[in-house]
């Protein structure tokens, strides 16, 4: 046997780890139960899925022009929603970033607001806005804007917090006001990273917008839901191909733009 004074704490650490592991396993088993995971059901449903997949080919291209207009609606929703989100994000991130906030008293509520906006998905916001402003892409724009505002402002604030304090201190000593200092010493330094974050969320918002139609907020998602409801799987396949092409193209454009920024 080895020395207990060495073994003692090591044994304690092992026991604690084993305890944590047991808790984690129990939690996971509970989740499996609550989520009603039942592979037998999947097994029995497989023939139906296979049948649908078979009926999806060849894709139905008869309404291609309508579907492309709906896809354009999705891109527009994501783009306008992201831009509105960025406009909301700008003032809030300046309050939320600890190194430029005018007061710690504003810092905490600003962060709380961001967490609320970020915590509620654009899908949920869109659901509410459909009730408020009616069916159509504008509800989607508002939904994307609010969720994007929270996410963009949070990442912007984090990016601003990593900036070197030196240039801001130097600008402070010119006697300039806070807003002038932010414009002159902060914005030029962080502009590439803020733009890169915005592009990333533009991509993200367009992907999120593809499903907003399910709650009636316009775009290709609406066609997707209608087609599934009608069991028109050849049309579903066309829509999925359009979504795939659209998302791939947007990702490529955004990635290329972001590379040029860094």
């Amino acid at each position: 046997m080895s020395n207990p004074s060495i073994d003692g704490p090591r044994l304690g650490a092992r026991l604690r780890f084993a305890g944590l592991l047991a808790v984690a396993v129990a939690f996971y088993v509970l989740c499996l139960h609550v989520a009603q995971v039942d592979f037998a059901k999947l097994w029995s449903g497989l023939p139906r899925l296979a049948n649908w997949a078979a009926r999806a080919w060849p894709p139905d291209l008869s309404e291609l022009s309508t579907l492309l207009v709906r896809a354009a609606e999705t891109v527009a929703m994501g783009t306008v929603g992201t831009s509105f989100g960025a406009l909301i994000a700008l003032p809030v991130c300046l309050l939320a970033a600890r190194n430029v906030t005018p007061s710690p008293l504003l810092n905490v509520p600003a962060r709380a607001l961001l967490n609320v906006l970020r915590g509620i998905d654009s899908f949920v916001f869109a659901l509410i806005f459909v009730a408020a402003v009616g069916l159509g892409p504008f509800a989607g724009v508002l939904g994307v804007a609010l969720h994007a505002a929270g996410s963009i402002a949070k990442l912007w604030a984090e990016s601003i917090e990593t900036v070197e304090p030196g240039p801001i201190e130097a600008a402070t000593m010119t006697g300039a006001s806070r807003l002038k200092i932010i414009r002159f010493a902060l914005i030029p330094d962080v502009l590439p990273s803020l733009s890169s974050i915005t592009l990333y969320f533009w991509e993200w918002s367009i992907r999120a917008s593809t499903v907003l139609g399910v709650v009636g907020a316009g775009g290709i998602g609406q066609e997707l839901k209608n087609s599934v409801d009608l069991l028109a799987f050849d049309r579903v396949l066309t829509i999925l191909l359009i979504v795939l092409a659209m998302v791939t193209a947007i990702d490529a454009v955004s990635a290329r733009l972001r590379r040029r920024l860094v």
Binding site: M173, G175, A185, P188
Partner: protein
Amino acid sequence: MTPILEARDLRKTYGARRALDGVSLAIQPGEVVAVLGASGSGKTTLFRCLTRLVEPDAGTILLAGRSLLGLRGRELATARRDIGVVFQQFNLVRRLSARDNVLAGRLATTPLWRVLARAFDRDSTERATAALTAVGLADHLHQRADTLSGGQQQRVAIARAIAQQSRILLADEPVASLDPDTAIAILELMRGLAKSSGLAVLCTLHQPHLAERFADRILSMSAGRIAAATPAPL
């Protein structure tokens, strides 16, 4: 004659460490004073307290006879216009041109909309160009700050203080990141400004031979106190 800047019994502690343990000094217009000390002697804390980038725990700071420590917000900003600063790490806005960095010295007197649009008036632009010419950078007006050499960046910082029309230049280890020849050129530039325009220069240094060559007066710091004040042997 009223000193342009005077400090009395400044104290600052970080935890148990006394960074400033009762520092008093005074500097007249046109005078060049070096604060000489090893790293950890408290000279950077002194610089940061005199600019109020750090609040001293106790003491008095008089800028042209007026107390600096009581000021807040807009009043503090207005008082700071009289203080030009030069840092060891230059602290320029890297992605702006040399002239834009010098124009920072005009921020306080430029209307907000002009700053937001980065559309400075003719007078400010001309002053910035003249300031850069005065420090020998007339050929680098539009060069991005992060592509300038260390010595050039420090010249830009000095030009910013000229454009700001500050009455005192506070420099914290302005030549510690520069090679010896460039260091001497920068110190001579600051000394020349003091003697030609009445700018007061207070400069922290850690190399005695530079302080002796450059300053009218040397204050030696150690352990947060001014241990000795000597007129430099010119």
